[in-house]
Each structure stands twice: as C-alpha cells, then as structure tokens.
C-alpha cells in the first residue's frame, strides 16, 4: 500500500436562527430560554445605541479614534452568555457587547477610547482583560490564563476573541499550538467579519474556511453563523464543555460582518461595495431576534418602545459618567510603571524634567533668576 489514508477531517457550519426567520428546533429548542432571549435582545439594542453614540462622540471631538462594533453584537454576547463569570474573557476591541454583559461598566470602554488608561482598570472579579490593541497578541495571554487555572486545579476556561486578520499573525499560531499540545482549556473565538481594515478575508486566509485553521493543531473546529446568537451559544457550549472536562481547546469561527468603518479613522467606501454592506444589513443579528420573538409572541411594539427609551437613558448616563470622570493626573503615568518607583523615575516625576540641570537646580547658580529671565 504505497498510499495510505492517515487522516480525515471535516468542517461543519452551524446555523439555527437564520436571517429569514428559519429556526431549527432540533438544536435550538431550550438552548436560550425566552426570558434570557429577551434580555439578550435588550442588551444588544443598548450596545448598538452606545456604538452609534460613541461614533458621534468621536466626530464631535469628544473621543479619540473608536472602532465600531455595529453588526457584530451576537458573537461576543453569545459567548459571554455561555461562559461563567469565573471564566476569562480575553478580548480584542469588538467585544463590547459581551464585556458589558459580563458586567463591565460601559464608561470603561468609552474612557479607554477617550485616551485614559483607567478605562483598562477592570474589576478583578469580572475576569476580563482590557482591549488589546496589537493584533493577534492577546491569545497567548488567554492560553497562559487558562494554563494557570489548570495548574491550580480550577475548572476555569479562557475564551479569547480576535478577528480574521489576527489569524495571520505568528502569535495566533503559537497560542493555538501551545493550547493544543499542552492541553490547555482555551476557546479561540474568531470573529470573521471578512475584513481587516481594507484587506479582504481571502488575503488573510484563502482556505475555504477560517475554521480549518484549527486542523493544524488537531483541534476541534467549529464554524457558525456569527450573527445567529443561537448558533454561537450552541458552539460555545460544546467548546466550554470540552475545555472544562477534558482541558481541550476549541477553535470557533463565527462568520459575521463589520457594518461600520474599521474605526472612525477609516472610510470603508474606499475599498468595499455598498451592495455587500446592504447584503449584510439584511443579516443583522438584532433584527432577526426581534422578528423571532415577535413570531413567538414574546415581544411587541410597546415593549420595543419601552426598551428604546431605557436604552437612551442607559447610554446617556454612561456617556455622562465617562465625561464626568475627573482628568487624569500626570503623575499617574509615572506612578504605575513599577510596584516601587526607581529613584530616577521619582526625580523625573517630581521635576517633570529629563535634563540633569533641571532635575538638580543646585547645578546652576541661580535657577530662579534664570527662569524669570
């Protein structure tokens, strides 16, 4: 037998509630109780509004560059819903919806993009790490966090989020490989929104699916409609169980779409067709739940009106809180450098100088005089 088959593999795509309202009872029934679905829906509506408001804050000069999350609410929310709060969420920057579900105050995210490190000072009990700016790097931290849990005999898993572009970075590969070979319970959650700024998905991964990236590590690979929160929860449940029980990592590709520009510094019209965007607007993760709930008679227009009012209030309040935070102190960027500040840094902080004479006025004859000159 000169040629022997030694391995077979396949990728399945999961869809439970599609954009036409089709709902698969076999997988979907009981997956998300009605009262939870209502909450999840309400949460998405609030997050979408915050996202729109954040965009306006940037445009009016009240916030720096901001990456909109619009259209990608379901993936991180479905994941956060499936996880325990003791599980780690190791995020990128398009997981606001999941982070807020976890309990992160909305003003934290605003504060971050307002250029204030205190936005990253996330309460420890949330088990969430701050927004990671360098693409592809945070998955390794998730692997380390989950490894620590395993080391301590805890049942905790870590779920880490990243885009399709991030799967091109070497660190992605190393994180997947460490987790697979050392049996570390990580859920690698790829939000394949099909663009990395202006670069289309095929340049990041020309294989038919991103999910098959996981084959390289002998990892379980799941793929789903990321705009279908049921499908996301279904996949997450599988991945979490495998992580908790068998310390095995799983790779999930959630196919979704970035409805907005990459960030407020971007203009997506330069590189992608309006038609494509329209196509995906029809696949919005929020509207399909609303239609579904209406068809199940658990939602109506008056509830919707109430929700929208509540959303307005919640978002305004968050913005107010974010803008009400007192300005950071310039000593802060020194004070947090080390547990104990080295002497030279103390001097730099106290003098706000790096010049030796300025730091040691005894070196000049009459510093006061010269400063007044």
């Amino acid at each position: 037998m000169p040629i022997t088959k030694v391995l077979e593999a396949q990728i399945d795509h999961v869809s439970i509630l599609d954009e036409h309202g089709n709902f698969d009872e076999s997988l979907g029934k009981g997956l998300i109780p009605d009262e939870d679905l209502i909450k999840l829906y309400g949460h998405m509506v609030i997050c979408r509004l915050l996202d729109e408001v954040a965009f306006k804050l940037q445009r009016s000069g009240r916030m720096g560059t901001y990456p909109q999350n619009m259209g990608q609410e379901a993936p991180s929310l479905g994941a956060a819903y499936a996880l325990e709060t003791t599980d780690w969420m190791v995020t990128c920057y398009r997981e606001n919806c999941g982070l807020f579900w976890r309990g992160l105050p909305m003003e934290k995210i605003l504060q971050h993009w307002m250029g204030d490190e205190r936005g990253n000072d996330i309460p420890r009990e949330l088990h969430a790490t701050p927004i990671a700016v360098p693409i592809g790097t945070q998955m390794l931290h998730a692997t380390g966090l989950a490894w620590a849990a395993k080391y301590r005999g805890e049942k905790r898993v870590a779920c880490t989020f990243f885009g399709d572009g991030a799967t091109s970075e070497g660190d992605f590969h190393e994180a997947m490989n460490f987790a697979a070979n050392l049996d570390i319970p990580v859920v690698f959650f790829c939000q394949n929104n099909q663009w990395a700024i202006s670069v289309p998905g095929k340049i990041q991964c020309s294989a038919p699916t991103v999910a098959q990236r996981g084959f390289a590590y002998g990892m379980d690979c799941l793929r789903c409609d990321g705009n279908d929160i049921f499908a996301v929860v279904h996949c997450m449940n599988k991945a979490i169980a495998s992580g908790r029980d068998n310390k095995r990592p799983t790779f999930i590709e959630a196919v979704t779409y970035r409805l907005g520009d990459h960030t407020t510094a971007d203009d997506a019209r330069r590189y992608r067709d309006a038609e494509e965007v329209e196509l995906w607007k029809a696949r919005d993760p929020i509207t399909r739940i609303k239609a579904f709930m209406k068809s199940r008679k658990i939602w109506d227009d008056s509830k919707q009106a109430e929700l929208e009012e509540h959303a307005d209030e919640a978002v305004s309040a968050a913005v107010k809180r974010a803008e009400g935070i007192e300005a950071p102190n310039k000593e802060d960027f020194f004070n947090w450098m080390y547990a104990e500040l080295p002497e030279q840094l103390v001097v730099q902080r106290d003098t706000m100088r790096t010049s030796s004479i300025g730091q040691d006025p005894s070196q000049i004859e009459s510093p006061q005089a010269s400063q007044q000159s």
Partner: protein, 322 residues
C-alpha cells in the same frame, strides 16, 4: 517645484522610484486600494497595479521576512509597517537576518530593503501608536536608520534609502505628516544618508534633534534671545557626529531633544560622543530633553510626556545659567 506636505513628498518619491526602477515594489497592510492608513501610498495601486503594490496578510514578521527574500533575489522591496508599535513582531527578522545577511555571507547575499514606518506621538492615537524606537535599531549593527523632519528631506532621503544597497529603516514622524508644507522639487534628487542639516546657526548653544521634535526646537528658539544653532540629525545611523562636534566646539553648550525615553536613547550616544570629542570646549554638561522613562501615556496625557517648547526653553535657560 511644488508646495508639499511630508506625506505628499514621500508619495512623490515612491512614484518616481517605481517609475524608474521596476525592481521597486511596495507591500504591507492596507497599502493597496486603501492607500495606507496615512494615505502615503495613495494612488499607487491604481498606477502600478496589484503586482507592485501588494496588500499582505496582517503579519509584520511575514512582511519583513518575505521582503528579505525579495531583496536577496535582487528586488528593492519597500514594505510599510503601519505604526512603529507594530515593528515589534518584525524585530527578529530585522535584527537576526536583514542586518546580518551581508556580513554573515561575506557579501554573497545582500538585503537592499527600505522599511517605511510612521513614528512618534502627538496625534492623539491609541496605545502603541506613538512610540519612538529609533535607538533600538541604531544599536543593531548592519542597519541604517533615517528620520526626516521636513518634506524636502523626506523625498531626498527616501530616494537615497531605496537606492541604498543595505537595509534602511525609514521613520516618518507622523505628527508632521501634514503639519506644514515646503517647496519640494519635482525632479528627482537625493539627500545623503548620514549627513545632518544645520537648520539655523548660532553661537551660544547647540540644539541637536531629529524628527517631529525639530519643530518644537524651532519654537523654543524663536522664543529665546540666545543665539542658538539647531542641528537636525536626519539620520540616526550612521550619524553625522562631525556636524555636532563642529557646532558644539563653537558653542560649548548642547541640548539634545528627542521623544523616546531618556534611558539608553540615541541622545545618550550623542551626548557621550560630544563629551569624547569636545571635552575641553564644553562649558556645561550636555542636557537631554527627552521622553520620560515611562510608557508613552494614552493621549489625554501625551502632551505631558512629549518634550515641548516649554521644556526645551527651560533647558536652554538652565544650561545657559550653568
């Protein structure tokens, strides 16, 4: 002659070198249709097509590593790294390979590569978008490191870099990408790598700087009544210590201004060499007005971090009173 911003001057240099030499190609993240996140490669995709202006996967080590291969084969790749904060993943390919290839193969292989990278703070960007790592690469033998402070120099230095037979890191101070315009000749010209520029002459004090900080130095000089000579290094490695020596021998006092953290910054090298060369002429210790030895803060505090005209002015006064 046209009145151009630094971005336009670089764009012009790229266009002209690509027209002239089909070994030149550009690769990187979003450099194609999008024209780069700072629009430096704007219009090039349309003009030269997808074979010569290539959007790559999102992987900096991949961009530099494949560029090394392209260069070893005799092409002249000009990769763009989106922000200096993302040079990190490519550090190993730059320092373990690009910098060493010529000497480790005794010339059998060379790496005529120009890595374009926006650098520095002051544009209210997110974290890792405002750093100044020039000293890191100046410490690595085998590289050349360039940082223009004006549109004219940017065009001339970039052309020199692309034609240089050795790897060059070409840092573009993003704060002055569009901050001012300057007359830039249409015709091709080069500005030599390794030569500083005397921006203005003076007798009392020498200020040495590079990149966007040159603008702050000029502001401080305008405010001062002293006669100040300003030197824009233009090239971090190899650097024009002769120009610095000549000036400080005359003035006896020197302030060095840079954005990078003070400790082990390029300012330390210049200060040390000034001591070595002008020991008997020095009237005061060389002063460094630099970034603090902290992480560049998020943008709410970045102006407290960056050396500005006020801090430079103070140093001028203090060194004068020494």
């Amino acid at each position: 002659m046209a009145n151009l911003t630094l971005v336009q001057a670089i764009n012009l240099a790229l266009v002209q070198e690509m027209e002239k030499d089909d070994r030149v190609l550009i690769l990187g993240e979003d450099v194609g249709l999008n024209g780069g996140v700072f629009r430096v490669t704007d219009g090039l995709f349309k003009r030269f097509g997808g074979d010569r202006i290539v959007d790559t996967p999102l992987a900096e080590s991949g961009i530099i590593g494949t560029s090394i291969g392209l260069a070893m084969a005799g092409l002249r790749p000009v990769p763009e790294i989106q922000f200096e904060g993302f040079l990190g993943p490519a550090y190993d390919q730059i320092c373990s390979h690009a910098a060493r290839m010529r000497t480790r193969t005794r010339g059998a292989f060379t790496v005529p590569l120009t890595i374009r990278v926006p650098v520095g703070g002051g544009i209210h960007a997110p974290e890792l978008h405002s750093d100044s790592p020039e000293a890191i690469y100046a410490h690595q033998p085998g590289l050349k490191v360039v940082m223009p402070a004006s549109p004219y120099d940017a065009k001339g230095l970039l052309i020199s870099a692309i034609r240089d037979p050795d790897p060059v890191i070409f840092f573009e101070p993003k704060r002055i990408y569009r901050a001012f315009r300057e007359e830039v000749p249409e015709d091709e010209y080069t500005v030599p790598i390794g030569k500083a520029r005397v921006v203005c002459e003076g007798d009392d004090l020498t200020i040495v700087s590079w990149g966007a900080s040159v603008v702050q130095c000029m502001q401080a000089i305008e405010r001062s009544s002293a006669s100040i000579e300003l030197i824009d290094m233009r090239t971090i490695y190899p650097f024009d210590i002769d120009a610095v020596e000549e000036s400080v021998s005359k003035t006896g006092r020197c302030v060095i201004v840079h954005e990078a953290p003070r400790t082990c910054g390029f300012g330390a090298e210049i200060a040390t060499q000034i001591m070595e060369r002008c020991f008997l002429q020095l009237e005061a210790p060389v002063q460094r007005v630099a970034g603090f030895d902290t992480i560049m803060p998020y943008y709410k505090l970045e102006n407290d971090y960056l050396p500005d005209a006020d801090r430079i002015e103070l140093a001028i006064q203090e060194i004068g009173a020494y």
